[in-house]
């Protein structure tokens, strides 16, 4: 503003992101490599799950040329899923435009801004100027291959080539193939970690990865059971703002205000709608499309200040469930004990939230000298900034000794935290850690407490068995000495065998055959 404006120009959304790509995790070649893999894997998993079948995701990454900077290279990345495939008419818009999103509906999904996949394609194009390919088909229909670019300034897809690869697709699938400049060498451990943790939270998915060195990573599924897909839902009146209300009113198909409210909002029945309209001083028969700005504002105030709604509907959420999660943890970490707990739905800032927690102990889990904490949000692993996460803070402050644990750092224990919501309360734009909201902290704490109670029972059973045997052994040892000293003092060796036999019987343990002789006679 002010006096310095020149050469005014409006830029497109794609252009804005092109200019600020660090926003979406593409700030340097290492991070960009990780982000590219991650965005495409998440899209592939979403696609397969929505199709209601166990996902089968196949990644191939090859080094095809040297990069411009030290340590970088140009890579070809191919990601194939077994989702239902796309209608060929949808392909250009779905892949060649930034900011495509579904309309005024709430649904749990993995995606971050709903634009991660497109950003990866955009990044590939910026760094290599090569087109990307999409091969997709639905079972029984033809298999199409698109070769595309994105017109960044116009935010429009450019289809360079479109052809039919096969007349009939045998199994529905989509493959995306792109080129980008990155640095796999340094991103490698993060990527493998990401896939490993994804496998924990998706035990029903086969994930295969052939990396640029030709190494083959296979995270095999151990179950066919997939959690029910998330449903779409209407907005809860407490979670809206004026702008949203205005848009709903402009686009609605309802003719009267009463119907408008019951149709577009959850937890609003005819009786509630009537009360709200009465408070707003608006007739239920008014047409929503014809409301003046001032009337709309009265309606908005009445909607958000009304206090007798039920909390938001959690059925929209798709938690993993204790069985599947224990399955995932067992298959990837092979603990000797695991317990997962799903908390009942809660509300955080007007959005429904379900917290799932788990604790695993022993087996392949070894003490690590630090807290071993696995975090997930809407089935995405969170790998950065662990120490700022609400779950880490809870883990630190919880009194674990109550559950027979001395220290999280020095015991073979791993903690797990999964938050599921239509709006995950991330703290930062980077979406790497969950904000320390009291409602949320409470859920995590109660979840872990429930897991830890089972762990305590498991551990104390294990310890009791060991200690009974130890008691007999110990008493035997001391009584050998006592008998010896008493004999020295009085010349008489007391018959300790009788008393020892008594304890052994009670503990169901054998008395050591020979009560140990001491080495140094006197």
């Amino acid at each position: 503003m002010g006096g310095g404006l020149k050469e005014l120009e409006q830029i497109s959304a794609a252009d804005f992101f092109y200019r600020n790509r660090s926003l979406a995790g593409f700030d340097n070649p290492v991070r960009a490599t990780y982000t590219t893999v991650r965005e495409l894997v998440e899209n592939a998993l979403d696609a397969s799950e929505l199709a209601g079948r166990p996902p089968k995701v196949m990644l191939t990454m090859e080094e095809v040329a040297e990069g411009r900077l030290e340590g970088t290279a140009v890579y070809m990345l191919r990601v194939r899923d077994n989702g239902v495939g796309l209608d060929p008419e949808d392909v250009p818009a779905a892949f060649g435009k930034v900011f495509v999103s579904s309309k005024y509906k709430l649904m749990q999904s993995r995606g971050t801004f709903g634009l991660g996949g497109t950003m990866a394609l955009l990044y590939g194009q910026i760094t290599t100027n090569r087109p990307f390919k999409v091969i997709t088909g639905r079972e029984g229909s033809p298999l199409y291959e698109f070769t595309m670019k994105i017109d960044i300034q116009k935010n429009e897809p450019i289809v360079l080539d479109r052809r039919i690869l096969a007349g009939v697709t045998r199994r529905s699938m989509t493959t995306v193939e792109l080129y980008f400049e990155g640095n796999y060498r340094r991103a490698r451990s993060k990527i493998i970690d990401y896939l490993h943790q994804t496998a924990i939270v998706t035990p029903y998915a086969d994930i295969m990865f052939i990396d640029p060195d030709g190494l083959f990573f296979f995270f095999a599924r151990t179950t066919d059971q997939i959690p029910p897909p998330p449903k779409e839902t209407k907005f809860h009146p407490k979670g809206i703002d004026f702008e949203l209300l205005k848009r709903l009113a402009e686009t609605t198909n309802t003719r009267k205000l009463a119907g408008f409210l019951t149709t577009h909002f959850q937890r609003v029945g005819p009786k509630t709608a009537a009360e709200i309209l009465a408070r707003a001083g608006l007739s239920p028969d008014l047409s929503p499309k014809r409301l003046s700005d001032e009337e709309l504002e009265r309606l908005f105030k009445a909607l958000v200040t009304y206090d007798n709604y039920l909390p938001p509907d959690p059925s929209v959420l798709s938690p993993l469930g204790p069985n599947l999660w224990e399955e995932g943890i067992k298959k990837e970490l092979r603990p000797e004990f695991v317990k997962a707990v799903q908390r009942p739905p809660a509300v955080v800032e007007g959005h429904p939230v379900i917290v799932e927690t788990a604790i695993a102990y022993g087996g392949d889990i070894k003490p690590a000298g630090e807290i071993q904490l696995y975090r997930f949000a809407n089935r995405i692993p969170l790998l950065y900034d662990v120490s700022s996460d609400v779950s880490y803070l809870v883990a630190r402050r919880l009194n674990w000794s109550v559950y027979g644990l001395k220290s999280l750092e020095d015991e073979p224990i791993a903690l797990f935290f999964h938050v599921v919501s239509t709006k995950v309360p991330f703290k930062t734009v980077g979406k790497e850690f969950i904000a320390n909201k009291p409602e949320l902290a409470r859920e995590v704490e109660l979840g872990w407490r429930a897991c830890a109670r089972d762990l305590r029972i498991y551990l104390s059973r294990k310890r009791r068995a060991a200690s009974a045997a130890r008691r007999v052994e110990l008493l035997s040892r001391y009584y050998a000495l006592i008998a010896e000293v008493l004999e020295e003092l009085t010349g008489e060796r007391p018959p300790i065998e009788t008393v020892l036999a008594k304890v052994a019987r009670k503990a169901k343990v054998e008395v050591p055959v020979e009560v140990r002789e001491s080495g140094d006679g006197s």
Partner: protein, 371 residues
């Protein structure tokens, strides 16, 4: 003065009795156990006139069928056997010696100790079980303390010794003063001095000879042997005066001589209730002898202050007199040391006069002794 409880034969008898009782238990098919009165708060009384007294009301049991106490049981038995052996051979041992008696092959896997705290704790238990101080079963402490003055005594070897004719430090009080008999006491009183420097100066200035006093040098907290020795002198009718710094620790030093201490409350004959405190007092500093020398006071250290705070709750300092003194520290955060006499005497000449006038006033006032 050796009491029945401490006579060697009695101790031996008690040890054998414990051993035999254990054998009987085992023969009856039961796990043996040892009952003893713990030195817990409830079993200790404090009376201003006699100091701490041990009057057991509750008893503890070292139970032989429990993992937690079987080691203690075996340890006590072994310790008693070793004590008996030393008594029979007329030999003493230190706590460190006792510890080493456990560092033997045969105790590997059982009583072989991790560190000395283990065996030290067991000594206290043995005292409680036998109802006698550890010296009675031959575990002695490091000797500390001298006495200088016209006192003739006969020591364990049967020799007669005069405590102002054995060198300039005087007679070293031995670890077990029980064995001493007094032959002649030629002093009006014993002044027990906390610190070596001022005590030495009194001796150098000829005060013991000139005023018929004995100087006992405590060198800090009075050792158990010194406390027993002073009690023995007190029992002979000698007035005992305790001359200390004016500090939170010194209150304890004085009170421990008079009343015994809580940690050795279960041991009889360590208190000298007739002894009187003649150390520096708040009054002396504020308005009395030292009132012009406030600048020579020392600040309390952190440890001093902590001690003063603890003093508030020490049973042997509950008399209003001690508490008033102690409050002064908490309020002023300072202390006065006996060396203040040096800061008051611009030249060494004045020192004797200062000592004598201080002692004269305090001995008269607190013990009715005129010098």
């Amino acid at each position: 003065m050796a009491t029945e409880a401490e006579s060697v034969e009695e101790i031996k008898r008690r040890i054998m009795e414990i051993a035999e009782r254990m054998i009987e238990d085992i023969e009856r098919g039961e796990f043996p156990s040892i009952r003893y009165p713990p030195n817990s708060k409830g079993n200790i009384e404090f009376r201003e006139d006699v100091g701490y007294i041990f009057r057991p009301k509750t008893f503890s049991e070292i139970e032989g069928d429990r993992v937690k106490s079987v080691k203690t049981l075996a340890g006590v038995l072994y310790g008693l056997a070793k004590a008996l052996d030393h008594l029979e051979n007329g030999l003493t041992m230190t706590k460190r010696d006792f510890y080493y008696l456990h560092k033997v092959e045969r105790l590997k896997g059982t009583l072989f100790p991790e560190d000395q705290r283990e065996t030290d704790a067991r000594i206290v238990l043995m005292e409680l079980i036998l109802g006698a101080p550890r010296e009675a079963f031959s575990i002695t402490s490091d000797p500390r303390g001298w006495i200088y003055g016209d006192i003739e005594l006969v020591d364990m070897t049967g020799r007669t010794i005069r405590a102002d004719r054995v060198g300039e430090m005087g007679y070293s009080v031995p670890p077990r003063p029980e064995n001493i008999k007094f032959k002649r006491i030629g002093v009006k009183a014993v002044v027990a001095v906390e610190k070596v420097g001022p005590a030495k100066n009194m001796i150098e200035l000829g005060i013991p000879e000139e005023y018929n006093l004995a100087i006992a040098i405590l060198k800090g907290q009075a050792s158990r042997s010194m406390r027993r020795f002073l009690r023995m002198l007190s029992d002979e009718g000698v007035p005992i005066a305790i001359l200390t710094d004016f500090s939170p620790w010194s209150l304890r030093i004085a009170a421990t001589v008079v009343y015994n201490s809580i940690s050795s409350a279960h041991i009889p004959y360590l208190a000298a209730p007739e002894a009187r405190f003649i150390g520096i007092m708040a009054e002396d500093v504020e308005t009395g002898f030292f009132k012009d020398y406030q600048f020579a006071l020392e600040p309390l250290t952190q440890a001093d202050l902590k001690a003063a705070m603890d003093n508030v709750h020490l049973p042997n300092l509950q008399h209003p007199f001690w508490q008033r003194e102690n409050e002064w520290f908490l309020k002023n955060k300072k202390k006065a040391e006996l060396e203040i006499f040096k800061a008051m005497s611009p030249s060494a000449k004045e020192l004797k006069e200062l000592f004598v006038s201080y002692l004269r006033e305090k001995l008269e006032d607190r013990l009715g002794v005129s010098i």
